[in-house]
């Protein structure tokens, strides 16, 4: 029997108490107010839903990124993406649900309702979504979309053509499993498919990165000598669904709009002579297109990727972020959520008296090749932990520093298909790599540049 003095507890049809519609202000576990969640509307209001959007004022990217005061909020990655788009003067966005991205694009729908995004719809599937983004970007407007895992692969034909069409859209990839048996769990294997498209690819470590990289992606991608799409990847769930502190500028300011005439290739608005790709001989004239035309176009796309370096340095503080590299006994090179885990592993190593330096990769394309050659020149051991089976980052690191470093590269630990990455696994690779002590996870980490040690493999097999 209920106590009449206690407030009535609302329940859903199954009898569970409903706690999600509490009218009082939400707080994080530390008691800070969460202000990014939409307030519960009380009663009818005649207030213009676009009022906030109409009052937004344009500021320079420099002011937005470096000078504007920021306020700290405790929000999810999806909410961080929403807040980035709110401040990015986005014109056009197309949504399609897929776990773990769905919340992001439905929050962009909320922005559309509020007038912060001018045009928005739910597309038919990812091929249609990525094609519509291509159409919008050709029309000269600023475009944003997001997808994940199987959606990335379903959309990859149009995505892979964005760079060749020189479309500076921003797409967010909330990475998850793609291959059978189908699962929705975190796994960033899809990034390996994006690396060779000719687009710029950033990998966000946390919610703050996601917020910053999306906004900066628009500005970098739209630079005249870049004019390329930007992919902002993060590890699904770890970043999209978890809350973290994000320092954000006020909602009343936004980036300058896209200026279509500034691109390297004219947009198709019948206001400029058409883009050379589709009309003038001999580029894509017909089946008789000269092979060298496609060849030089590819060269130009990848040259544009190279030219984006200076803008990434200018706005993001570099393609990678080295920390305590000089004099370290070993280095960890990581991106995304593996970078977050690596920080804790480095602390544990320090407790054991092992000094480990850290290089976080922010930009996967362009890749910080020159930076790594210099930073890794004296390294003896490099450990590259990754949330995928194939170790695409370790391969890129090995390729970049080949001939410039004598370091042993341990490609691992690798976790995939939804496995978490206990920091002890990373510590184990570092200590094992330094001492030669057998790692419990050696077959997971394939030591690159050496023959497979069958004894180590056998040791592992006996332990699972």
């Amino acid at each position: 029997m209920s106590n009449p003095l206690e407030p009535e507890v609302k329940t859903n049809p199954q009898g569970d108490p409903i706690t999600s519609v509490e009218p009082e202000q939400k707080t994080n576990p530390q008691g800070d107010p969460i202000t990014s969640a939409a307030p519960i509307k009380v009663g009818g209001s005649s207030k213009d839903p676009h009022e906030g959007a109409k009052k937004q004022r344009v500021v320079t990217p420099e002011y937005m990124f470096f000078e504007a005061p920021r306020k700290r909020e405790f929000i999810t990655g999806s909410e961080a993406a929403k807040e980035a788009v709110r401040r990015s003067n986005v014109d056009f966005s197309v949504a399609y649900p897929i776990t773990p991205q769905s919340e992001t694009m439905q929050l962009i729908g909320v922005l559309y309702g509020e007038g912060y995004v001018k045009e928005y719809y739910r597309g038919e599937e990812e091929y249609g979504v990525m094609s519509a983004i291509a159409g919008g970007s050709r029309a000269g407007v600023r475009c944003f979309t997001a997808t994940a895992g199987p959606g990335t692969l379903r959309g990859i034909e149009p995505i892979a053509s964005w760079p060749g069409h020189r479309l500076p859209a921003v797409a967010m990839f909330t990475c998850r499993v793609v291959n059978a048996p189908l699962a929705i769990q975190p796994d960033n294997i899809e990034i390996s498919y994006l690396l060779n498209c000719g687009m710029i690819v950033f990998h966000a470590e946390n919610q703050q990165d996601l917020f910053d990289f999306i906004m900066k992606g628009f500005i970098i991608g739209e630079k005249n000598d870049v004019t390329l799409p930007v992919g902002v990847a993060c590890d699904g769930f770890f970043v999209t669904h978890a809350r973290n502190y994000v320092d954000m500028q006020e909602k009343g300011i936004k980036l300058p709009p896209r200026q279509a005439w500034k691109g390297a290739v004219p947009v198709l608005d019948a206001e400029n002579p058409p883009a050379r790709l589709s009309r003038d001989a001999p580029v894509q004239k017909s089946n008789f297109m000269a092979y060298n035309i496609h060849a030089v176009w590819q060269q130009e796309v990848w040259a544009a990727v190279e030219r984006s370096r200076r803008y990434i340095e200018q706005y993001m503080g570099g393609l990678c972020a080295p920390d305590n590299v000089e004099g370290a006994e070993a280095l960890i090179v990581a991106s995304g959520s593996a970078a977050a885990q690596s920080r804790e592993a480095i602390r544990l190593c320090k407790d054991q008296g092992v000094t480990v330096g850290f290089i976080k990769i922010r930009s996967l394309r362009p890749f910080p090749t020159r930076e790594l050659r210099q930073l890794c020149a004296k390294a003896k051991l490099i450990v590259v932990p990754e949330f995928n089976y194939v170790g695409w980052l370790a391969k890129d690191v090995a390729t970049a520093i080949y001939g410039y470093s004598n370091a042993k590269i341990v490609a691992g630990p690798h976790v995939y298909g939804g496995m978490s990455m206990p920091v002890e696994m990373i510590v184990d690779e570092v200590v094992g790599g330094l001492t030669g002590k057998k790692s419990i996870a050696v077959p997971d980490s394939a030591i690159m540049g050496r023959d497979v040690n069958q004894a180590e493999v056998a040791h592992f097999m006996q332990n699972i």
Binding site: F92, E125, G135, A270, S278
Partner: protein, 298 residues
Amino acid sequence: MSLDYVKFSPGFDKFMPKEYRDMVEHGPFGKKVTVSQMGSFKEILEEHPMCAGCAMTLFIRLAMISFPNPEDTITVGTAGCGRLAISQAAIPFVYGNYGDQSAVASGLSRGLRLRFGDKPKDVVVMAGDGGMADIGFSMTLHSWFRKERFTTIMLDNEVYGNTGGQESGMTNKGQVLKMAPLGKKFEKMDMVGMAKLAGCAYVATVVPNNPRRVESVIKKAVLVAREIGPTYIQAYTSCNIEYSIPTDKVMEDAKNVENDRYQFSEHLTEEAKHYLATRYGFKEYLPKPATATALPQA
């Protein structure tokens, strides 16, 4: 502004190729040209790599003459014979990926509306039967259901012509083609029925041997798509190579096919009729005065 982009910057005209000068001086931009004036002006599409006797090329030429505002028109297509000609035309053409045309056009037309408001920027999808009814089927249908305001024109040659003669969904049942060695086993897809079902504001079927009729349906379809909703034209544009039609019999074949399964048809919503009548003076769609019959007798 858009008329300016086809003109020369002062002092540059004498350095431009003759082809370009002809287009500026004798082309259709900013003028009202009709199919009956063919031969007296420079066409948007003249040179192309299409086969001799190709009915599709004739249809594309007629369609381009018929665009109400060629200087403000952007075409979108996909792989297939049609784009070999469309990409040679003197108006912008988007050639994206396989079967993506209706999705690209959705983004393009919405983006252009954001930038140019009510100023007409006509987006016209022109693709083959394979690109539209097979690989791009979902995007074609969804663009109609979403009521996207652009024109969709199917160049229906009832075969994959560009890849060398394979069966498509628009091939007739029983037809023997590559990939249909025993004859096609299902009916030609009813895209016209689906266009009506999906709510297209204007739907027409047409063959190219009646240029004035082609002109009429293209004009109506493009105008209705500006404000009312999606429009669809399905044109029989035979492949004389894969169907072994002698070049001098191509028009005869079109006539026979028109009588057999491609009768001229036109479907307009009431809204489209009202719009064409009131905005563009199409008298045939003016409401018939109910009392008019009584007047002469009075």
